[in-house]
Amino acid sequence: MNRIVAVMKKQLKDTLKNMMTLVPFLLFPVIALIFTELVAKPSPDLPDTFFVSIFASMYTGYVPLVNMAAIISEEREKKSLRMLIMSNVKPFEYLIGVGGYVLLLCAAAGVVFGLIGAHSGTDLLRFVLVMVVGALASILLGSAVGVSSKNQGAAHALAMPFAIVAGFVPMIAMFNDTFARIANVLYTQQISIMVSDISASNAAFCRFAVIGANMLIFLMVFIFAYRKADLQD
């Protein structure tokens, strides 16, 4: 446990000094706040939570995926991961440490998004839970990208298409019904639907089933990538 905590503490200190990682964590909630206050609230045609649901699902699909891939690939490239593993940190402890840290940040972002959307009590909890589940799926996919990339450049190139699809498809789906039907198989589309009306039961079981299926696929991709990769290299 101390090794997982050591990795998390290291990651917190590093993130605070790494604009490339820090900015995406902060950017989406800030944009959501600005758009909600300046566009959604004054507009009679838009629900107050319009931009919150767009940016929350975008955040869930994009930020954890890109950041996990960037963190792991940087550690591989700079050989600091090799040093950790040679110092008795097991690969799974490292991945839990980094993944847990990213998940905590996503949960904190979920609280911020929820508050911007004026949710409280059970609704706020449900909002955060939905975002955390979505972030977990992105973390699995980001980990797969990270472990299969030997450097940050490769990880960025590989992560970006996945992140763009996961992050932006729900927004495009809002404007095209056919696209929306196809997008239903994607976990971020289900997140988007759930966070847009968090009070409604919203066929939650089916939606979580789709997210679970996505996670299962990502887990298999991760296991395949992990077995192929040599994290000590």
Partner: protein
Amino acid sequence: MMASVIAMEHIQKSFAGRMVLDDVNCSVEECEIFGLLGPSGAGKTTIINILIGQLKANGGAASLFGIGCGNLTEEVHAKIGMVLDESGLYSRLNCYDNLAVFADIFRVPKTRIKEVLARVKLEDAIKKPVSKLSRGMSQRLVLARAILHSPKLLFLDEPTSGLDPSTMLEIHNLLLECRKNGTTIFLTTHNMDEAAKLCDNVALLNEGVIVEYGEPDALCRKHNTAKTVKLLLKSGQYIELPCDGTAAKPIADYLAGNMVESIHSSEPDLETVFIKLAGRGLE
């Protein structure tokens, strides 16, 4: 009898059909500084990687503290400190935070961090980010990380490569101090002066084969084929005499005449020994 901290028997390793290590044998005893000398590409780093369990040998057996290198336990890893070919430092974190990560991992008290930073003379750079350190300072920080948990065995892969003489001297002193405190040191280098100064035993590695093994002084004496003494006279003239009874009288005469500036023996240095055995230099 002291137990071997490191033992290698008939180690073989090949990459893509090319043999890079062939029948490597050696052992390193407790509190010994052992030097593996060889030019770049001789197989030094491959040996370290096999010993720390990162590479599997194709043949032979290697062990640390009696445990096979393919099955090193957490306990064995906790006894090892390493300075490898790449620093693995966190460039955005400062010196203290870099060591704090490993202090947490090894459950070392935080007071130890300042202690080791002082030992490598980085106490003034404690809050300096690694990205702002000079190469010498970075290397000292890597060494501080390696000794943070007071390891019983240190692996040092070219620890002073590319460093200025004063930093090199500081690192040498630190290594001698570590040895005095009971640490066994396995060091690779192509700096023969470093090996001659620090090591109790050296192995000369050429193209994956240990061509010579023993104490540096003994190796130089063994390969002293010239067997002569050289006298530098105060006039600037060099006189070379055979190293036998016939030289006794002339030497005594020069000394009696107060003509001698210095007397030199003709033992080769380690690099000359290596060139003689391998047919090429260490650089």
